[in-house]
């Protein structure tokens, strides 16, 4: 991040390397087209300038074949570029199974980060090198956008939703983090630093932050505090779906459709329980909209996720 003249950004994630190849491909293609168009224009302008003696001969050749020819050629070339980019984009949207999930809350004008083991930071993000990291992000107010050019990733962070994005940092160092979606007065200062550390250093850093309670543990406490356990807990008196083994599985809904229980579904079930009702249960859950802040929501979601992970074998959900 030193001063001076830069031509290319740093390349610090697995994805960044692949993106640079795509960039090279795009550059070469467009350089060729540019050379062709500019070259022809220049040659024609010089050769056929008004008072040149160039041979003009038969001026009106057939245009049919030429038109079809270059239309098809352009089309094929463009399709190639499309598939290359689409393929890489798909990869960017398919995180591996073993990601470390870190929560990010954006608000005017700061980034709040929570690690799974409970550490929090503001406008900074510490991550271990060579590990797939998945960010689960939401906003407390307007749309923001989490962008790390050295990783070649960015994604809008919307209020009222979870957006996620993953990367695998490959180079130890510090990289800039920007907010890329205009979000008000201090938009340009809604920036931060991503620090990529060796595994050992990362562990030491985590420990030095003080052994906080994990998000799951905090979530468990909230689960009781907000009264969720009254219905969903083992001693529940009301007919509510059990949450064990829920995360990541398809859930049949009352309207006959299916959803996969991801973070977004859990979030919606807490805030907008009437919007997607699980099949076989009365729609009696109250909405917690406006009562639970984004950070507590994360903790609750983490807790529900952990219930899923805790009993991976608990295949079928008990019949209602």
């Amino acid at each position: 991040m030193n001063q001076g003249i830069h031509f290319l950004p740093e390349t610090a994630s697995a994805h960044a390397g692949e993106m640079d190849w795509l960039f090279a491909g795009l550059m070469i293609t467009s350089a060729m087209i540019l050379a062709l168009v500019f070259g022809l224009m220049l040659v024609f302008c010089v050769r056929y300038r008004r008072n040149s003696g160039a041979e003009r001969g038969n001026r009106l050749g057939k245009t049919w074949r030429v038109e079809v020819g270059w239309t098809v050629a352009t089309f094929v070339l463009f399709l190639g570029l499309y598939f290359w980019g689409a393929n890489l984009y798909l990869k960017l949207h398919r995180p591996p199974d073993d990601t470390t999930d870190i929560f990010v809350v954006a608000k005017q004008w700061m980034w709040k980060v929570e690690h799974p083991s409970g550490q929090r930071e503001i406008n900074e993000l510490h991550v271990p090198v060579d590990r797939p990291i998945r960010l689960v992000m939401t906003s407390q107010d307007v749309i923001h956008d989490f962008a790390v050019p050295a990783f070649r990733i960015r994604r809008d962070v919307l209020p009222g939703r979870y957006e996620s994005m993953w990367f695998r940092p490959t180079k130890v160092g510090q990289y800039r983090l920007f907010c890329a979606e205009f979000c008000g007065t201090e938009h340009a200062h809604m920036t931060g630093i991503v620090t990529v550390m060796e595994q050992g250093d990362y562990q030491r850093w985590l420990d030095a932050q003080g052994p906080g309670e994990t998000l799951v543990a905090q979530g468990a406490a909230l689960f009781r505090q907000y009264g969720c356990s009254g219905c969903h807990g083992p001693a529940g008196t009301v007919h509510a779906p059990p949450l064990e083994g829920l995360f990541g599985r398809p859930v049949p809904l009352a309207d006959g459709s299916m959803v996969t229980a991801d973070e977004g579904y859990i979030r919606d079930s807490i805030l907008l329980p009437k919007s997607r009702i699980a099949a076989g249960y009365p729609a009696i859950m109250p909405s917690y909209d406006g009562q639970i802040g984004e950070e507590d929501l994360f903790k609750l979601v983490s807790y529900v996720k952990s219930l899923g992970n805790a009993s991976p074998g608990a295949g079928e959900r008990p019949a209602p």
């Binding site: 008072n51 352009t74 749309i143 009222g160 205009f182």
Partner: protein, 552 residues
């Protein structure tokens, strides 16, 4: 100095001008403000948008000044208001009306052999709406400005911005009605008022492209109006439409907005294609290469321009599948643009090319539009766009298309038809210098922004990390050259009004119907409705030897 050379049809200054649209009907302010003549209305538009162009340009100058140093010189809020008003004014008060409402208004009826547009009064009404919209926009600025950017993204614009959002969107809303009326007028005119013999395949490409533009104006603008109305409802009445805190959908606005604004990009560029398709054949003395392909490419833009809006939203939280489809469609729509460029280039082949000012602007257009278009291959590419969207790469991309492209085309057209509109010839040498300065200044200003964007400089930043400074300084330096280039025509064109040589009916020896009537044209364009017997662009090779003199 071709235009003043003896072989061109430059008449000696006659004692008195024949009656024309400038003199007939009086020259009082009242006669202008109540005119129904499409040519006078075109002039009214030209004056208005010139004011807006320099107003938006002044904001651009301050933006670039601020970005010379990383911390900037303006307060964050001031800067945010500057780039917002720059964008709003340039898009709605310059780019969208520029060619259709000035050159289109002036030329469309003449090119098809008509006396006027189909609805002359509505034409005047649409100018008044435009002026009212402009005044409202200026009031918004004077009241304290707006800080949402020209895109008005929600929920920032509805719930969080404490600037004059309602005034600003009212301005845009009103200008939308002006657009719709102009569009309707053009469509009906082209359908109903063509002279005998003026079949569809005898229409100049300029008419085809303004016709296509008009269709987009009529179909897309209502969506914008509805979107802005919804925005106002949420902001004023706190009804949850876009803000999730009220139960709304934050992405809905973007879908609606781009459903208008992507086609709007074609509103901004299609008329430019039309101008270039007139200028290049004229100065190459050749019919346009592949006339029917070019004509139908214009029309096909209208259809496909509605299918790619979501390529502005690849990182906005759309589904992956939607992104895959929109990227594919964007690549498909790039093909007709490529056809146009190839056809203009091929038109030069075996021509008798001369480099008068309109042609220089047109060649500049082809170069800048091609570069901008190719950078579109980058931004339409899913994986690549993830890295550059919302950065200066995108700022560079759209300036290459809209400023390098559209503004160059507007200048090409203005210089080409200036003798027709005013009856005078400007100083060719100065015009060529300006064209050159604009080309050089433009590239110096905006090429560094591609690099900045790839490095990761985000747009709408009033201050930035120091490692981006070098390219920002270069860009600002280029902007001062560009500004000079844009100011020059103001002087030599004004000068030509008073001291310029009189132009004959057809100083460029061009073939369109508009050149068959005197310059400036009489009030009703033609003494007698012309009958068309030939396709357009019947350029003949220059009569060789005697012409060679005077073209050093």
């Amino acid at each position: 100095m071709t235009a003043t050379s003896p072989d061109r049809a430059v008449t000696a200054r006659p004692a008195a001008q024949p009656p024309n649209y400038l003199t007939e009907g009086g020259s009082t302010l009242r006669s202008w403000l109540l005119t129904h003549d499409h040519k006078r209305i075109a002039i009214l538009y030209a004056l208005t948008i010139t004011v807006f162009f320099f107003f938006g340009g002044a904001a651009a100058a301050m933006i670039r000044l601020n970005l010379v140093t990383p911390p900037g010189i303006f307060a964050a809020d001031t800067y945010n208001r500057l780039f917002s008003i720059h964008g709003i004014v340039m898009v709605w008060f310059f780019l969208i009306p520029s060619i259709p409402n000035t050159l289109g208004n002036f030329l469309l009826p003449m090119m098809i052999g008509a006396k006027d547009l189909a609805f002359p009064r509505i034409n005047l009404l649409s100018w008044y709406l435009f002026v009212v919209a402009g005044v409202v926009a200026l009031v918004a600025v004077i009241a304290g400005g707006v800080d949402t950017g020209w895109t008005f993204y929600t929920p920032f614009s509805t719930m969080y911005s404490n600037s004059y959002v309602i005034l600003a969107i009212s301005a845009v809303f009103i200008s939308g009605f002006s657009s719709i009326l102009t569009g309707l007028n053009f469509i009906v005119t082209v359908h109903r008022l063509r002279a005998p013999g003026m079949t569809w395949y005898r229409l100049p490409i300029f008419v085809w492209s303004n016709y296509s533009t008009a269709i987009i104006l009529v179909l897309a603008t209502p969506v914008l109006a509805i979107t802005l109305a919804l925005l106002a409802v949420e902001r004023l009445l706190q009804v949850g439409i876009f803000d999730p805190a009220l139960g709304g959908d934050p992405l809905l606005f973007q879908h609606l907005f781009w459903f208008y604004s992507h086609p709007a990009v074609y509103i901004m560029i299609l008329p430019g294609f039309g101008v270039i398709s007139e200028v290049v054949p004229c100065f190459s003395r050749k019919p346009i290469f592949g006339y029917k392909f070019v004509a139908w490419a214009s029309v096909s833009f209208t259809a496909v321009s509605f299918l790619v809006w979501a390529h502005h939203m690849f990182v906005a939280g759309m589904s992956v599948y939607a992104a895959l489809v929109f990227s594919l469609l964007s690549y498909i729509i790039a093909v007709p643009s490529a056809i146009k460029v190839f056809n203009w280039t091929a038109t030069l082949h075996k021509g008798w090319i001369s480099f008068d000012a309109p042609m220089l602007y047109a060649l500049g257009f082809i170069g800048l539009f091609t570069t901008g278009g190719l950078s579109g291959l980058f931004t339409a590419n899913l994986a690549f766009d993830v890295h550059v969207t919302d950065t200066y790469f995108v700022v560079a991309h759209f300036h290459y298309i809209m400023v390098g492209g559209m503004v160059s085309a507007y200048f090409a057209g203005l210089h080409f038809w200036w003798p027709k509109i005013t009856g005078r010839i400007y100083h060719e040498w100065w015009a060529r210098i300006a064209a050159l300065l604009i080309f050089v200044g433009f590239n110096l200003t905006f090429f560094p922004q591609f690099i900045l964007g790839y490095l990761g400089m985000e747009r709408r930043y009033h201050s930035y990390p120091p490692e981006f400074q070098f390219w920002n300084i270069l860009s600002s330096a280029g902007a001062s050259i560009l500004a000079l280039g844009y100011v020059m025509p103001l002087f030599y064109l004004t000068w030509s009004l008073y001291r310029g040589q009189r132009a004959g009916a057809n100083p460029w020896a061009a073939t369109g119907l508009e050149w068959t009537t005197p310059s400036p044209p009489p009030k009703h364009n033609f003494d007698k409705t012309p009958t068309v017997t030939r396709p357009p662009y019947q350029y003949r090779p220059e009569p060789e030897p005697q012409d060679a003199q005077g073209h050093a």
